[in-house]
Symmetry: C2
Subunit: 143 residues, 2 copies
DNA sequence: ATTGAAAATGAAAGTTAATATCATAACGTG
DNA sequence: CACGTTATGATATTAACTTTCATTTTCAAT
């Protein structure tokens, strides 16, 4: 039995809230799911407008809010004053390393770090649900 | 030989930019240095106004920008749509664990995590300058 | 296919926090 | 104390986010 696709997850979520699936919403979501960078609302709006000029900012905004609510997107702030949405990968969580000169963003995973985090939290009486780890520095091109 | 106090660091920074030290600015900075939470501009403004009602938002804003520039404060976004300023402790860096129910913020340090971060970055060809680690979960009161 | 209630849409308005502007005040050096 | 410089507070502007509302679309029940 396959894991449900993102589109299917979205559909279930909409049903649960008795919202309707619409062509526009599906198109925006589908466009977002194909993206592997951290995209802002304006950027996503521009992208969907190229194929579907009638789409407005509000619909993109509302779609991204939905995706965020149902865990298919993550809203992040990297410090440039804009919320950027991350397309959550099927293979789970990852962290970011950001070049402070050229703004290149790379992703990484480190099981050991996650483990240490859980331990640290436990000591403080916390139960960790999620986390955010961002490393800032110079990439190979900018050293 | 003692390490310079934060006030002294600020004074040097102002001199270097040929800016003047003023009573208001000093008072705002001093008030901020005594704070051990993550304070927003509005909160800080309210605080300084209690002793010095004439102070305006703009001066607090500009002072915090200065402190951020010279490394005495860190501007952070915890996701509530407001920038919060952290009073950098003398004993160096720490990370945060945030309760997603009551918003309590605790700080912690973990040398091992930092070490793993540096290693991970190296593999990707990055040189780490700073980092941000935030754990989100439930604190002991909210579990 | 038609209908009608419910939800979606886009344009525009409203909100909020951050930042810039500007006339006036305070500073400090000669 | 006079002058040029910098600081200040009020206000205006900006930018991103969020809501509102009149209209359109959807979908289930005819």
């Amino acid at each position: 039995m396959n894991a449900p696709s993102k589109m299917e997850i979205l559909k279930s979520y909409l049903e649960a809230k008795s919202l309707k699936a619409t062509a526009q919403r599906d198109f925006i979501a589908d466009t977002f799911f194909k993206i592997n960078t951290h995209i802002s609302l304006d950027e996503l709006l521009n992208k969907v407008k190229r194929k579907n000029p009638g789409i407005g900012y509000a619909t993109v905004y509302r779609t991204m809010r939905l995706l965020t609510e149902c865990g298919l997107a993550i809203a992040r702030q990297f410090g440039d004053g804009q919320t950027r949405y991350e397309n959550l990968p099927q293979d789970g969580h990852h962290d970011h390393i950001i070049c402070i000169r050229c703004s290149r963003i790379e992703e990484f995973q480190n099981q050991k770090i996650e483990q240490l985090q859980a331990e640290t939290a436990k000591k403080l009486g916390f139960t960790v649900v999620s986390h955010k780890l961002e490393l800032y520095g110079y990439c190979s091109d900018c050293t």
